[in-house]
């Protein structure tokens, strides 16, 4: 199964396992491809599109495309960087993100990518979407204003019978993240912490333990996102 294949990213010779996702294989070779929805060893969502690369000349999400012998990946090109910046801008105009008041500031992947791509004013008009804060479950605040629909919580947080605690609701412009109140009532502290940790933004926050991490000690306070490739997707 673990046949070794050679491939290139922006001309750099890399090695990976056949069938391994490009985004993971790149990280193993010291190449950073930005992600928001991807987590290693999880079924790929392929929804944030920030990892869009050119694979053998075609635009593909690096988190859903496997490497093969001779695969040619383009990653760090002006065109792709602009696409990624556009996606970050888009997420900022789509939701309501106020970094200064957000507990995840400094630990937020979206904010960190905003800095990385030097986003100033988004090129797109703000949507000013009216979204709710769901605070009726005992362990978690679900701040829907900040959700970027990465599906990490949907894919990871399950109860002991494997039932989903989080799921989408609606579609297209009415899409929102939804929490199961019955199952969330029995969520363990450990699961609540995990949910908050895997959320790439500040949409899932724990109750009663706010702002424990001081400013200056957070993930992206000293180094930009993409510096630590080993721990990049938890």
């Amino acid at each position: 199964m673990s046949e070794i294949v050679k491939f290139t990213i922006d001309g750099k010779e890399c090695q990976g396992k056949k069938g391994q996702l490009i985004v993971d294989a790149a990280a193993d070779n010291g190449v950073y491809i930005p992600v928001l929805c991807h987590m290693r060893d999880l079924i790929p969502a392929g929804s944030c599109r920030i990892c869009t690369t050119k694979v053998n000349g075609r635009y593909m999400a690096a988190c859903t495309t496997p490497v093969d012998e001779g695969t040619v990946v383009e990653n760090d090109t002006p065109e792709l960087l602009d696409i990624r910046k556009a996606i970050v801008e888009m997420l900022f105009v789509e939701g309501n993100h106020f970094c200064p008041s957000c507990e995840k500031s400094g630990n937020c992947d979206l904010q960190a990518l905003g800095y990385k791509y030097q986003m100033m004013a988004p090129r797109f008009p703000y949507a000013f979407e009216r979204r709710e804060l769901e605070a009726s479950t005992p362990k978690i605040f679900l701040e829907k204003n900040r959700c970027i629909f990465c599906k990490r919580c949907v894919r990871v947080i399950k109860d002991d019978q494997g039932r989903s605690v989080f799921a989408f609701k609606g579609r297209g412009k009415t899409l929102q993240i939804n929490i199961d109140k019955k199952l969330a009532a029995n969520l363990s502290d450990e699961m609540a912490k995990k949910a908050m940790d895997i959320c790439p933004v500040g949409a899932i926050l724990r109750k009663e333990v706010g702002f424990v991490e001081p400013i200056g000690t957070k993930k992206y306070d000293h180094k930009p996102i993409g510096s630590d490739l080993k721990n990049i997707y938890q």
Binding site: R49, E94, F149, A167, N178
Partner: protein, 597 residues
């Protein structure tokens, strides 16, 4: 209520994979899938409530609040608007005293909009409790509302029946086939069972080879070589499935509706041939809910075919087992995308899957699956019957065979035409009696808007590919407002929302075109729309996002003057119109507006 819902869940063997059927039955019986119902279904299936809600909330025929005893769904797609939808809507609102999106206080009537219901040749059309009403006008609306108030059964609200099978006692519909031109393949002569009989006498590999040799390519619009798809799928191990895509959601398409009505036997036979070829025992017809009026007839055809041993066990004594069930959708355009269709058939949200793996490797229930369009299966029957050489001789070298076109809009003879590939747009327009044509929308909103200067182009996979939708747009139409804006509203509504770019860009592009239509656009907006459309095309997972900007990009390319006329050559233009705002507020308080421009 609880017992009844548990009963429904029980009928589907408590299988979460049959969630669509469960929700459809609950919706039809209680007029909604309420929070309480969601809770009962969730505990019976041992899934979380949000899991049920995620499917429930994806499809627009499922509602959380009860719809009226008569739920009226008026089609608001382009052709319906062209043919006078606004009058129909106005009359409905006037006589019922309610607005669209609401329900009368007594709960009798609710009014809703819905996307194209596949009746573009007989618009304006509406669904009332799944029964189709076509060619509506003010007078008909008044009569319908009076009938509803009198408590008439929906089936009894019309007297004239459509042609062909539409008049069949199990269909009893006023829908017309409007078959204007029958060709040699799908609408030609057909004897039930002949193709399958011949296939069963062949080796399954030879069946695939025959289809491959015919150069048949997918008739849903994508044009993937059918034989190659069957070949890939047949090479995979394990159970195989045959799925038929009868979601026909592309606005302006209705040719599959006619095949489903007049060629149901042929379709099922085609699915059986495919099943034999790839080694499948089970087939699923994924039928859009808008065509649920055919339900009883479909079931009767399946029963008839089982009785004739064209379906069932040991077919024609050849040791081949194959049967088909019908899976209904519940209103979602994106389910016409093959992997979204699979998700939906598995009872989930219709979100397209990531590829790889492809459906031929891991499709329905993660097993090797082929999905083909209705017309593709029907074509396959004739290919097997008459041979690949016969088929290949029809059409152009690159596009073999015939194609069904659904032609609607500003023409004298809207309807279904089986044409030989290679016909020019000009020939097509002459055929349908279209004059003073401003544009032809080829292949629906996701296709291209073609100007008269290109009417000599050919309808063929190598030039103008189409799944069948052809909308003729007359010179009297406001192309940007009546067509492009309508299409963009459609895509913004129908995006599944999973990809960031598709979810957001379709809204942003819709707002941009709206701004231009309303006269607030500036030159820069045109370049922005082009640039943003390109990003959208490059960064989405499925065909919806890859093509949804086409209404804008193809009209900017082909009808640039229409944009230039509307935009101002300034750096900044406020979207806020002071004069209009003053006028509106004066109207509210009943004071004459004094505006100094």
């Amino acid at each position: 209520m609880k017992d009844r819902i548990l009963n429904i869940v029980e009928n589907f063997e408590k299988d979460p994979g049959r969630m669509m059927d469960i929700l459809l039955e609950v919706q039809s019986e209680f007029g909604c899938v309420s929070h309480e119902a969601v809770s009962i279904i969730a505990s019976a299936l041992n899934v979380s409530e949000v899991d049920v809600t995620q499917t429930r909330s994806f499809y627009h025929f499922f509602t959380c609040q009860p719809v009226g005893k008569y739920a009226v769904y008026v089609n608001n797609s382009v052709v319906s608007c062209m043919k006078g939808m606004s009058e129909v809507v106005d009359e409905f609102e006037k006589v019922t005293g309610i607005k669209f999106g609401s329900k009368t206080q007594d709960g009798l009537i609710s009014l809703h909009y819905t996307a194209c219901i596949g009746m573009s040749d007989q618009e304006p059309a509406a669904l009332i409790n799944s029964v189709v009403f076509t060619e509506l006008n003010r007078e008909k609306v008044r009569k319908l509302v009076a009938d509803m108030r009198a408590g008439k059964a929906v089936q009894e609200m019309f007297t004239e029946l459509g042609d062909g099978i539409n008049a069949h006692p199990l269909v009893k519909s006023m829908v017309k086939n409007n078959i204007r031109k029958a060709g040699p393949v799908t609408l030609g002569e057909y004897t039930v069972g002949k193709g399958l009989m011949k296939a069963l006498g062949m080796d399954s590999k030879a069946v695939i080879t025959e289809v491959k040799d015919s150069n048949l390519r997918g008739r849903g619009g994508a044009g993937f070589p059918t034989g190659m798809k069957w070949d890939f799928c047949s090479r995979e191990s394990g159970d195989h499935y045959v799925l038929c895509n009868a979601d026909e959601g592309e606005p302006g398409t209705f040719k599959d509706r006619v095949l489903l009505t007049e060629r149901a036997h042929m379709l099922f036979e085609g699915m059986a041939i495919a099943g034999y070829a790839i080694g499948a025992k089970e087939g699923i017809l994924y039928l859009r809910n808008e065509y649920a009026y055919l339900k009883a007839y479909m079931e009767s055809v399946l029963t008839e075919l089982r009785n004739k041993n064209i379906l069932g066990k040991n077919i024609h004594g050849k040791g081949f087992d194959f049967d088909i069930r019908v899976q209904y959708g519940a209103g979602a355009y994106v389910c016409g995308e093959e992997s979204a269709l699979i998700e939906s058939a598995e009872g989930k949200r219709g979100e397209p899957r990531n590829r790889p793996p492809f459906p031929v490797q891991k499709g329905y229930k993660n097993k090797p699956t082929i999905i083909n369009n209705v017309e593709t299966f029907c074509s396959a029957v004739k290919i097997i019957e008459n041979g690949s050489a016969w088929y290949k001789a029809i059409g152009t070298p690159e596009s073999a065979g015939t194609k069904l076109l659904s032609i609607s809009g500003d023409c004298k003879l809207p309807g279904v035409y089986e044409i030989v590939w290679g016909m020019s747009i000009k020939e097509m327009l002459d055929m349908v009696g279209a004059e003073n044509v401003q544009a032809v929308q080829v292949a629906g909103p996701s296709g291209i808007c073609l100007p008269p200067s290109q009417f000599d182009r050919k309808i063929a996979l190598e030039d103008l590919p189409t799944g069948g939708s052809m909308i003729v747009i007359g010179k009297n139409r406001d192309l940007l407002k009546d067509v492009v804006l309508n299409f963009m509203e459609f895509f913004a509504d129908e995006s599944c929302g999973s990809c960031v770019t598709c979810r957001s860009f379709n809204m942003i592009l819709k707002n941009s075109i709206e701004k231009i239509v309303e006269g607030h656009g500036i030159k820069k907006n045109i370049d922005e729309m082009m640039a943003w459309s390109e990003i959208l095309r490059k960064t989405t997972r499925c065909g919806l996002g890859q093509t949804s900007s086409n209404p804008i990009t193809t009209t900017i390319k082909n009808f640039k003057e229409l944009y230039d006329m509307r935009v101002k050559d300034v750096e900044y233009q406020s979207e806020f119109d002071m004069s209009k705002a003053v006028k509106d507020s004066c109207e509210v308080v009943g004071r004459p507006a004094i505006i100094h421009e």
